[in-house]
Every structure is written in structure tokens, then in C-alpha cells.
Amino acid sequence: MSRQELLSPEGLRVDGRRANELRRISCRASVLSSADGSAYYEQGNTKVLVAVYGPREPRNRSLMQPDRAAINVEFNVAPFSTSERRKRSKGDKRLLEIASFVKQTFEGAIQTSVYPRSQIDLYVHLLQHDGGTLEACINAATLALVDAGISMADYVCACTAGFIDDAPVLDLNFVEESSIECPALTLAVLPRSGRLALLQMESKIHASNVDHVMDLAIEGCKHIHAKLDRAVLAAANDLADKLSQ
């Protein structure tokens, strides 16, 4: 990969953003007619489609729990999602890992005790990949779950942040994420209580910088929370319009 500056002397990153700027976010709930809840979420060029089914009869009796709902997440990457076409097998470890993270994150947020003996399915499709996969999946899943009317304690908002040249940077794209110079931290928070639902970092960072990076990520999550809230409101207004016609 060519050695390009991730952060120019003027403070601009490869895509023209400043260090603390989020990528442009567009999202919409209720995009698939047959799913109980669905959402389409775009953060920059990373695009995710989530369908939620549930609570419904568990397909696998062994997964059924007597006092709570079982959450099942399946993560699919479309072969046309990356610039080079690549088809991942269903057992790909990276895909399973991301699915597992999403599941654990939402087990803490969904009030599963309200739906005993049932199963909630989240099917996540990555349609275009440009960094921040896990954060986009979590944000899209939150929107889809709210659309499905599943009882949750709070929104779950996720954001990535990194550290380039002594400056914490917000919302990494693919180039920044795959660069060795930039550690990538993914963080999911429940905005009202401020509690962390997910914290993951893959590379090396100096201990004194971790706090700054985390604070920046939490700031990003607050903005994303506002966006998701607006999307939920828009979907509700849409529905109200349809009902009043």
C-alpha cells in the first residue's frame, strides 16, 4: 500500500475530514416489507442492511431458554461489497466473530426476560465495505430492533476511533483502519446511562492515550444517537401518515 499521509499537516484526513468529524450518516427504518423490523444504515461508504424477526418460535429447541429470549445473529457479506469481488464462506471466522460481538452487545440491551422461550433473529447484510463494519452493524441493528418493536433498555450506539500522529481521530474508514499506524477502537454505548456495551481494540496504543480516544468515541456515539432517534421519529411519522389517509 502506498505510504500516504493519514493526517495532513493542515489537519485533513484522506477523505477530507477533520480529526473529530464523523462520516455522513443516512439511515432509514422499515425498508423490507416482510421482516418484523428492518433498517438500512449508511456511514460514509459502509452500507448495512439489517432484518429483524421476532420474537418467534425458536427453530432449534436446544437454544430455547425458559426465562428469556435467545438472540441469534447471522452476518453476511455480499460478494460485491469490496472493491475486489470476494465470496466468504459461511463459516468464515471473521464473520462469525462479528456476529458474536453483535449478539453479545444486544444481549445486554434487549430486555430478553420479557420474551421467554422465544428467539429473536437479526440478519445483517453488509452491502458495501469501507471501514467501521462492526459499528455500522450495531447502529443498523439498533434501528431495526426499534422498528420491530422489541423491548430495549436503551439505544445502542457504536463508533470507532483511532489515534494518528498524536491526535485522536473519529470514525475510521477502510484506509485508516487497515493502516498499521493507526490503532482502531470500537466502542458501543447505551446513551442514556452512559454504560459501555462493547469495547474492542485490535492494535497497540499508549496507555495514556486510551482515555482520549474513548472520550472521542463516546462523543461520536452521542451524535449517532441523535441521528438514529430522528430516523425512528421519521418512520413513526410515516406510519402515522399512512394510517390517517
Binding site: S26, S38, F80, Y123, Q128
Partner: protein
Amino acid sequence: MASLVLSPAEQDFIIRGVEKGLRSDGRSNLDRREVTLRTGMISQANGSARCRIGNLGVGTDVLVGVKAEVNTWAPGEPETTGSVICNVECSPSAAQEFEGRGADEINVELTQLLDRIMSGGAQGGDGLDLSSLCIIPKQAYWVLHVDALVLDVRGGITDALVMATRAALMETRLPRVVVETITDDAGATQAEFDVVDDAEDMVALSGVSGLPLAVTFNQIGKRYAVDASEQEEAVTQAKLTVAVSPKMDICAIQKGGMFRGFPPSLLSEILQTAQRIAKEEFVRFGTLYEAAAKTSEQQSDGPSTGSTFLVPF
């Protein structure tokens, strides 16, 4: 496919209705449902299309992306043609049994069927011109990867797949390739190619207007119905998919499983009806495709996946 449980009374109702030419949603036996088509929404693919067959915004929903790659020729491969590789993936959002490995069987079946239908016309000189995909014989050629993602199944999956694939291939643009012949000192000539990296300078595929469309006939009771809904498919005894090219040639025929066979006397009637229906379908497809192309041209910031998901489809 999605297992729908119908009561014996419901099944009887559908069967008798079709025998009299009446269907539950008011269509006649040969009427097809509404089709919504959008193209060019996946920016990083060479071509893409999304197709939904169904009334009132609910139906079989397929998203197709076409990506082109340059492959180096290996001995044993055809020397003067490129190739098209199809791949169909059914999402678990279409049916719960498609979770995990549950969709493997149907993915393979649909992939093979799509492959056969798309290449069926090619031999007679119709259909996609594979020799135009060859860059340098015995050296390099284009491979088109057609990836279909089935988001929802409400009956008539094959028809939707073929329609979306046809639209995606019609919309596909390849970068232009410049081929130079270089003569070295020893006098031997070698051809080299260079892919022009200009977004404005793209080439459409040749022969796409010859691609077929599929019509699926479902035998229900003693009669048959075209473009069956989910409930009708649950009562179907035998399913026959016929792919017809614009020149009214039959490109592929596939009889799908189920419980009983097909009386051969019905077959010739079905083939003729297929040609008649296909003619109407090509006209409808043409109108829809032009409308879709116009919509995607009007987008201010170029093709975007959001364009089909952020607005009602």
C-alpha cells in the same frame, strides 16, 4: 422454499379457483404481478439491479450485482471467450430455514438454473457475446461475476432472478481496454493490454438485448397458473420454468420437483403460452428498464445503494 402451512379448505379453494381461472388476488391464470425495477444502485459494482415481483409493495425481492475482473488464461480454458459466473445467495430474511447452511441446497439449484438460462441463448449466436469479453486470446479475458442476493421470497423466485440479472447485465459497463502489439528485438510479437481508468469511458456489454426472460408455470389442479404467489406455490403439483429469448427461441426449460409429474399434452400448450407471455414481458421489461435508467441518471451524486433503500422501493 418457505414452508407455508395451508389448511385443506384453503388448498381446495385455491385449486378450484385456478381450475375456473380465478385467483385469490383477483388475477386470471395468465396475469402476472407488478414489477418494480431499479438499476445502478451499487456504486462499486460494474452493474447492478434490484427487482421486486409482487403487488402492493410486498413480493419476491432480488438484488443483483455484477463485478468484472480480468483473468489470466490457463491452458484448458476456452481461448477466445470470456466467461460469466453466476452465484445466488438466499438470505435468511427470506425464510427462517435459510439460516446457517439451510440455504445451501436452494442456492446451488438457483445458481445452476441461472447459469443455464443466461448461457442458453449464447450458442445460437443470441444472448451475451462471450467472445467480446476476450481481451487477448490465450492471454487475458474478462470474467463477469453475477452475484444475486435474494432478500425476500413470495413465489416466483426464478422469474425475479432472471429479470434482475438481465437488468444488471444491461446496465453493466466495463472499462475500456487498449490492446497493443509489441514487437521485441527478436521479432516476436507480444500483445499487451491496458485498462483505461476513466469513469466516463466505459463500454456496455454486447449481446445483452438477446438475453432471455423466464416465465414460470405452476400446475395447480387440472390447470396451470403463471407467476404463482406463495400460497399458490404451496399447492403446486409441478412447476415448469421456461426461458424465452427476444427472438422467441426457447433458451431453457426446467421442471421443478414436487409431488407429481406433468402430463406431456400440457407441455406444448405451455411452450406456446410461454412465448406469448414472454413477448408481453419483454415489452414491460423494456419500459421498466428505461424508467429505471432515467431515475438513476437523475440522481445528483451518482449511483448509490442508498437510492434504493433510503426511498420507498
